[in-house]
Amino acid sequence: MDPQAAKFIGAGLACFALIGAGIGIGNIFGNYLSGALRNPSAAPGQFTNLLIGFALAEATGLFGLLIALIILFG
């Protein structure tokens, strides 16, 4: 295979990490929303935890994206 083509395919494959990030972020916000609708008074207190969870879930996807960028431009 042409190395240039393999490089592009590899970069595309690395972006699969974003699937997991999407599932994780959707899970966090979905569960927060369903919890917040059951007990709205407790929701504001958990907002910081929501954002921390969001950041941690997002980071795994971003690592994949980073690898894609390293493959493409590194």
């Binding site: 910081t48 954002l51 921390i52 950041a55 997002e58 980071a59 971003l62 690592f63 994206l65 980073l66 960028l69 431009f73």
Partner: protein, 254 residues
Amino acid sequence: MAAEGAHEAAATHGPMHQFEIQRIIPLELFGYDVSFTNASLFMVIALLVIPLFYLIAMNRRALVPGRLQSTAELSYEFIANMVRENVGEAGMKYFPWVFTIFIFILVLNLLGLLPYSFTVTSHIIVTFALAAMVWLIITAIGFMNHGVGFLKLFVPAGVPWWLMPIIIPIELISYLIRPISHSVRLFANMMAGHAMLKVFAGFVVGLGVLGGWAPFVFLLGFTGLELVVAFLQAFIFTVLTCIYLNDAVNMHHH
């Protein structure tokens, strides 16, 4: 010929062009390249904007704050509450440091959203330097407060002894990897967001007056989203700093 020229223009001004570092004043010191670049310029701008904003906002200290003064007071209260909630009263002596980190990153992120500006936080070396600074200072605080006892952080309470050979290396690695995950989060968010904006801007130009409206509306929405992300990432960087600080100050057995 025209198509070739357009292709060349697209190649030089592609979505990654905005991240290029240009030397404004070339300098060399002891064989190191210490040129004043566009990155340095925007850091200097941020350092000028922050004190200027707070000086103007707090110039007329009214009992009933005006718009600027309440913005300044809100930012103070926001971080003060964050430190108090996550670290407790013992952490309030580190408040100025946490506040500086937050405002610096926030202003750099927001400056990067201006047209023709440069996003300093979209370079991993900048965010890594910040995260490494945070990590080193927090480790030093931990050892200063608890001495060798700080190493107990890697030995969680309530874990059976035969699990220790597995748990301790895991805890150690997760501690050592903190500066990397801390910096990559900020860098990748800012870089991916700005690259995406430029890609959609390319669609607007490419589709012309007739078809360009659809990506243009999309672009407007994404710019709003980027504004949220600029704030959110500064917030998350600061919250994580507070959480790491909590480990070093209070050493809760988790």
